[in-house]
């Protein structure tokens, strides 16, 4: 944490530290309970899953079964490629569009902006049937770009960046132009750096959304080569035979571990970059 220069006069003191810490910890324990259960179930035999006897023997059998049941390394790679692809494309496309809306008064701007806003609330999840048809015409069914494409032009990203770009003083813009910078150069040199906090915040929204997105990837993918983690995890979902929590938990842990560990290691830097940027 960027150590605050002085203690805030409203920081808890005395007994309040204890009360607040207790409250925070109780809530934290509640919040982490599903993860704790996942760890318990993943390392215990099926019959011990639901009985919390500390003496129950530990086992790695569930991980073996889960690992054998599905190519998780591949699924992880697919999800990673998917999330990265979406994020990079979103940044580029949304930046360009937001810049157009924020700084150019062009013919048809109001209509174009209204068209963008219309998507603010229309989730591609709702338009699955039509989008599937389009993908199939484009030959993109069962490909990672096929999963990504409907989400790339994000009204949310355009809107957010436009709001930020509008708060940037025009003088900076003009100064850059006087120096002979083109529109794209100005965008890259002036606007993008100043909007970094928004990129971080939006990036987090986007990554967490697409990491966990399920319905559309379920429909559009068929093969191991394109299937992301969430769809791969469906293998263990409740079917004819009922749920087997130990294997589900082992699979969940395996697939979430990289992200969890990543957050654990970098959470300070992560929150700090948010703060330095100060998303408001």
């Amino acid at each position: 944490m960027s150590a605050p220069a002085a203690r805030s006069p409203y920081a808890p003191t005395g007994i309040w530290v204890g009360i607040e810490a207790a409250g925070a910890l109780v809530l934290a324990c509640l919040w982490i309970l599903p993860l704790l259960f996942a760890v318990w179930a993943a390392f215990h035999a099926t019959e011990d899953t639901t009985r919390f006897a500390l003496t129950a023997p530990l086992t790695l059998e569930n991980f073996r079964r889960a690992w054998e049941a599905a190519p998780f390394a591949r699924y992880f790679l697919n999800t990673f490629v998917l999330v990265t692809l979406i994020l990079v494309c979103q940044f580029v496309l949304c930046t360009l569009a937001a810049y157009a809306f924020a700084r150019f008064s062009f013919v048809g701007r109001e209509i174009a902006f209204a068209l963008v806003l219309a998507q603010l609330m229309i989730m591609p999840d709702v338009l699955i049937v039509e989008n599937y048809r389009t993908m199939s015409r484009l030959g993109l069914v069962d490909t990672i770009p096929g999963i990504a494409l409907p989400y790339v032009a994000s009204a949310f990203g355009i809107f957010l960046l436009r709001q930020t770009f509008r708060t940037i003083p025009r003088e900076l813009d003009d100064a850059a132009r006087v120096e002979g910078a083109s529109a794209l150069q100005t965008l890259w040199k002036v606007y993008v750096p100043l909007a970094r906090p928004i990129y971080v915040a939006y990036g987090l929204v986007s990554v967490s959304f697409h990491w966990n997105n399920f319905l559309w990837p379920l429909i559009i993918t068929n093969s191991v080569e394109a299937r992301p983690l969430t769809v791969g995890l469906q293998i263990f979902s409740s079917g004819d035979q009922g749920v087997d929590w130990s294997v589900i938990c082992a699979a969940t842990l395996m697939t979430s571990a990289p992200l969890l560990i990543g957050f654990l290691l970098f959470q300070r830097q992560f929150v700090q970059s948010f703060i330095r940027a100060g998303i408001r």
Binding site: Y132, M135, R137, I219, I235, F236, S238, G239
Partner: protein, 429 residues
Amino acid sequence: MDRRHFIAGTGAALGLGLSRPAWAQAPTEVSFYFPVAVGGPITKIIDGYAADFSKENPSIKVTPTYAGTYQETIVKVLTAHKSGTPPTLSVLLSTDMFTMIDEDAVSPFDSFLKGPDDQAWLKGFYPAFMLNSQTEGKTWGIPFQRSTIVLYWNKDLFREAGLDPEKAPATWAEHLAFAEKLTKRDGAGNTTQWGTQIPSTGFAYWLLQAMAIQSGAILANQEGNRTAFDDPGALEALTYLVDLSRKHKVMAPGTIDWGTTPRDFFERKTAMMWTTTGNLTNVRNNAKFPFGVAILPANKRRGSPTGGGNFYLSKKAKPAEQEAAVKFVRWMTQPERAAKWSIDTGYVAISPAAYETAAMKDYAAAFPPAAVARDQLQYAAAELSTHENQRVTKALEDNIQAALNGSKAPDRALKDAQAEAERVLKPYR
């Protein structure tokens, strides 16, 4: 379909179009979607079958794709059908037959079964399974992973309750009497162990249908355009189900989850459960107590609907692909393979011949429950299957749940379900 398949498929098509010149060695592609209701390793078994088949038939390449649950598989097959490139072959619920016909997504097998040995093969399946596979005089589905409902009971708990651990309830009255003895309550009035459990999510209509058959009711006609949910037999069935829970309190209140039911049984939370025979291997692996498997108890008669999945042939596939797929289906349903599949999963082997194989005979001798589902087939009836099947079964399922939760009386619930089914099915008459 990825690009590799596409190119290979185009190659095959060109090869056929050019009157099969000698250089066109590209094998015929059969894409095959299947659901797995029985956990991970099964996908490997199917992959193995496909590889073995292609080894024996180098001119055909079967590409199996695990497509999720039954529901997810039909979603994939029909979305792919509507947009152009459906899999040549798929395994879907036998009750999806009318849906597949209505969507014009399925080709009957008949045109590929001209010879006398073909007809003999078709006759080789248990007739009960063909009920949901044939309509309008055509065969639309070939049985693959089929099931019926059976009763599982915990012999230890029977012994504790002073019941004969080797004797399952044979009638509804016995089932209730046993369940009453098997229900345990603690001092505070909380139930620690339930007598019986009949799940009411996911497949509620299926379990109710079993009781309706036992009460002499047939819930739908063979044309799939008329239901009889308000039949007195159906009312008897729903009343019995609701009374188990609300009146006699020998079954947990509210709706009972299909997915957690086997676990409830393993946890000794319930002494008996009704569920698919497809669960047999699961129960065998996970129940840490001696258990029994029995034919469902009788009311007026014995009975259970069949269930499970059939092979379907895509209408949009090319004739050569369809023919290759039929060859694969015949290979998959050979007695030895059907026996192996049944042993691995617990599903009912689909033909009497499969039960005559050495492997199956040895297995049934060492593990008698494996033969129970087969023995029940003589009482089996077609599973509820109509046009707009999912909508009709949902109407029934919602109302079963309403009755179990006490928001509707059983007769009101069934009348509502029937009214909705009438509305949906009217255009199909």
